[in-house]
Symmetry: C2
Subunit: 105 residues, 2 copies
DNA sequence: GATTAATTTGACTATCATTGTCAAATGAAA
DNA sequence: TTTCATTTGACAATGATAGTCAAATTAATC
C-alpha cells in the first residue's frame, strides 16, 4: 500500500499509463470532465461508487483503492486537529472493543 | 481514556452527577432541550464548539472530551465499512508520514 | 392515582456542504 | 495558429445537518 500518494495521484498516474483521456473516463463515470479533473487533483472527493467504478476502469485493485480512499476520508476529518493522532489511536481501540463485543451497539 | 462509553453517555452521566437539568445545560449552549437530549442519546452529533462549551459547563477535561468526540467522528466515517480497520491503520501511517515531512502538502 | 415537571419523539424548516453542469480560460501538441 | 485536453470558477440542484416547536411519554411528587 502506497502511503505517500493521494488517491487522486494514483488515479491520474494509472489513467495516463493507460493512455486514457479525462473525457473518456469521465464519460464512463457519467460525470463531467471537470469533476474528474478535480478529483485527480484532490480538489474534490470521489464517491465510494465512483471509486469502485474507477478501480474497474483503470484495472486497479478495488480493495486497495477503497482502503486508500477511506483512509483519506478519515484523515480529512482530523486534518486541522491538534489532537488528531490521539483521536486516531482511541478510534482504533474503540474499534477493537466493538469488534470484541460484537453486538452492534 | 474510557473507550467503552459514548460521548453522549459521558455527558449524561456528568450532567446527572451535577444535578443539572437538560433545560439548564441546553440554555447555556443556546440550543433547544430536544437537541441536547438527542446528543446525550447519540441520536445527533454535537458540534466541536458545543463540546468545548460542554466541557466547561460540566467540568470535564476539554482535551479528553475532544479526543473522545473526534474518535467518534472517525468511527462514524467507517462504521459500515468492511475495510474500516485496515483504513484506520493506513490513516495512521499516512499521518506519521505527513508529520515526518511536515510541509503541509 | 392525579398533577406537574422532565425528557423524548417526530414533523417541519433553515442552513450549509456536496455534487454536479456549463462556459470560458489556459496549456499542450500538431 | 488551430485544435484538442485540461483547468477554473460561477452557478444550480441536491442532500445532509442542525435547529425549532408542540405533542407524547416517562418520572417524580403530592
Amino acid at each position: 500500500m502506497k502511503i505517500d500518494k493521494s488517491t487522486g495521484e494514483i488515479l491520474r498516474e494509472k489513467r495516463e499509463e493507460k493512455g486514457l483521456l479525462l473525457r473518456q473516463v469521465a464519460a464512463k463515470l457519467d460525470i463531467d470532465t471537470a469533476i474528474l479533473s478535480k478529483i485527480e487533483r484532490s480538489e474534490r472527493k470521489a464517491s465510494k461508487e465512483q471509486i469502485i467504478k474507477l478501480a474497474k476502469i483503470l484495472d486497479l485493485k478495488e480493495e486497495n483503492l477503497l482502503i486508500q480512499y477511506l483512509s483519506e476520508k478519515i484523515l480529512y476529518e482530523i486534518k486541522d486537529e491538534e489532537l488528531g493522532s490521539k483521536a486516531l489511536k482511541v478510534a482504533e481501540k474503540k474499534m477493537k472493543y466493538i469488534r470484541k463485543n460484537k453486538s452492534g451497539n
